[in-house]
């Protein structure tokens, strides 16, 4: 078995004295793990930093084997974020969430493209927190738990959307909420791409997406808690806002 693809490195674990087991989110093969021989060497270890874009070739005798990767760096993203506390938190949160959510060896081409775009923005533009929030929405969508924020679930109106239903993930307007308002989640305007897109607004949006990641997605994945890296990003945004 052999294939070649490009992907973003999600995680690295030491394996024995000289090898490493890496997880890469590839375009055509999804989240895929494999051994990198000599992965802890002085030559290769600096390349194997989370977020790095790699050209990988995977080989194994049988498809179900872990297999080995040979890796070639395409683009290092570590240098762009290392000195930026917030961007580093964003990189950690994105990689940790992908490692947490994605099923192995299942292609998610749309999410892959959005992930690469997000990683390219980290530390490069000030708009990346909004891109991160939109990326979490697309992550939920790709995992089958997409939010429907286009129109009110009750009245069908597209204006005045202020709540989101914790049960259906659909937006609800103030008029449509009625006496159920206190049972609904607030819909931060940042999730609609409106209002203040400052760190505070992004943080509110992440708290809402976090609700659905925790209540909807995590139970399908063994009910594990969300990665701490995501909470550290929210904390970092709170300090900025």
């Amino acid at each position: 078995m052999e294939w070649r693809d490009q992907g973003a490195l999600l995680s690295v674990r030491r394996h024995g004295e000289t090898a490493a087991i890496i997880e890469v989110f590839t375009a055509e093969h999804g989240r895929h793990a494999g051994v990198v021989r000599g992965g802890t060497s002085r030559k290769i270890a600096p390349v194997l930093q989370p977020g790095t874009q790699l050209d990988v070739t995977w080989r194994a005798r049988l498809d179900e084997h872990l297999g080995t990767f040979t890796v070639e760096p395409v683009q290092s993203r570590a240098a762009a974020v290392m000195s930026d506390r917030l961007a580093l938190s964003g990189l950690n949160a994105a990689c940790a969430l992908l490692a947490f959510c994605l099923p192995e060896r299942e292609a998610h081409p749309v999410l892959y493209r959005r992930t690469v775009a997000l990683l390219d923005m980290l530390g490069q533009t000030e708009a990346w927190p909004l891109a991160y929030l939109r990326w979490e929405l697309s992550l939920l969508d790709d995992m089958g738990f997409g939010l429907d924020l286009g129109q009110c679930a009750v009245t069908g109106t597209e204006a005045g959307l202020t709540y989101v239903s914790p049960k259906t993930g659909r937006a609800v307007s103030a008029a449509g909420a009625g006496e159920w308002a206190d049972k609904l989640l607030p819909l931060p305007q940042s999730l609609l791409g409106q209002g203040a897109l400052d760190p505070g607004g992004i943080r509110e949006g992440l708290i809402t997406t976090g609700f659905f990641l925790t209540k909807w997605l995590a139970p399908q994945l063994g009910d594990k808690p969300l990665p701490q890296a995501r909470q550290r990003l929210i904390d970092a945004l709170a300090r900025q806002g």
Partner: protein, 198 residues
């Protein structure tokens, strides 16, 4: 197999578990030790026995020594008010080899890692806060690896110490003897960002 042969095999098996050694190299090492029994094997066995009995982690900084408080922490002249934070004892020893730093150290015992679920509680960060108060630290130098995990930890510590003490970090850039042609893009970019007047 006689008892003596079994003991040698056991020794080879134990040696093969050491970093950098496999069964073949362990066999060669043991054969060499047996041939140099008086000048090498006996003193090595004695030294290993002594270190096995006395080696311990410094209660203050996490360095490995033979007393509860290591020589660095015990030395009055190293109370300069500077505290160098390193990830591992191996990093501390590397810094000491350079003999450039005259202050004291603090070994974290790892870095924050989302994948391995290592949070601040698993590192020696609470002890670090205590030391800053107790030892009158004026500057904390973050000497952590230039990796994503290392720098995530560095930022976390800097946040925790914000406003309490000056926090600095090691520079990143071209190594001594390094040729630009062989450097990766990230290092060149970091070096350029940290350029200084010449």
């Amino acid at each position: 197999m006689s008892d003596a042969t079994r003991d040698i095999e056991t020794l080879i098996e134990m040696m093969a578990k050491l970093p950098g050694l496999g069964p073949r190299s362990a066999r060669r090492a043991v054969l060499h030790l047996i041939k140099k029994r008086a000048p090498l094997m006996t003193p090595l066995a004695d030294a290993m026995h002594r270190v096995s009995a006395s080696a311990r982690e410094c209660l203050n900084c996490g360095n490995i020594g033979t007393t509860d408080i290591c020589d660095i922490c015990a030395a009055e002249k190293r109370a300069t008010g500077e505290l160098c934070i390193v990830e591992d004892v191996a990093d501390l020893w590397a810094m000491e080899r350079g003999q450039a730093f005259k202050g004291r150290y603090h070994v974290l015992g790892g870095t924050l890692s989302a994948l391995d679920a290592i949070g601040p509680e698993e590192l020696r960060i609470p002890k670090l806060r205590d030391r800053i108060e107790a030892e009158g630290i004026t500057e904390v130098i973050l000497a952590l690896n230039a990796t994503i995990d290392g720098q995530t930890t560095a930022h976390y510590i800097a946040e925790q110490l914000e406003g309490r003490v000056a926090v600095t970090s090691l520079a990143q850039g071209v190594p001594i003897g390094g040729e630009l042609d062989y450097l990766d893009d990230g290092t060149i970019s970091a070096a350029l960002k940290a350029r200084k007047s010449f």
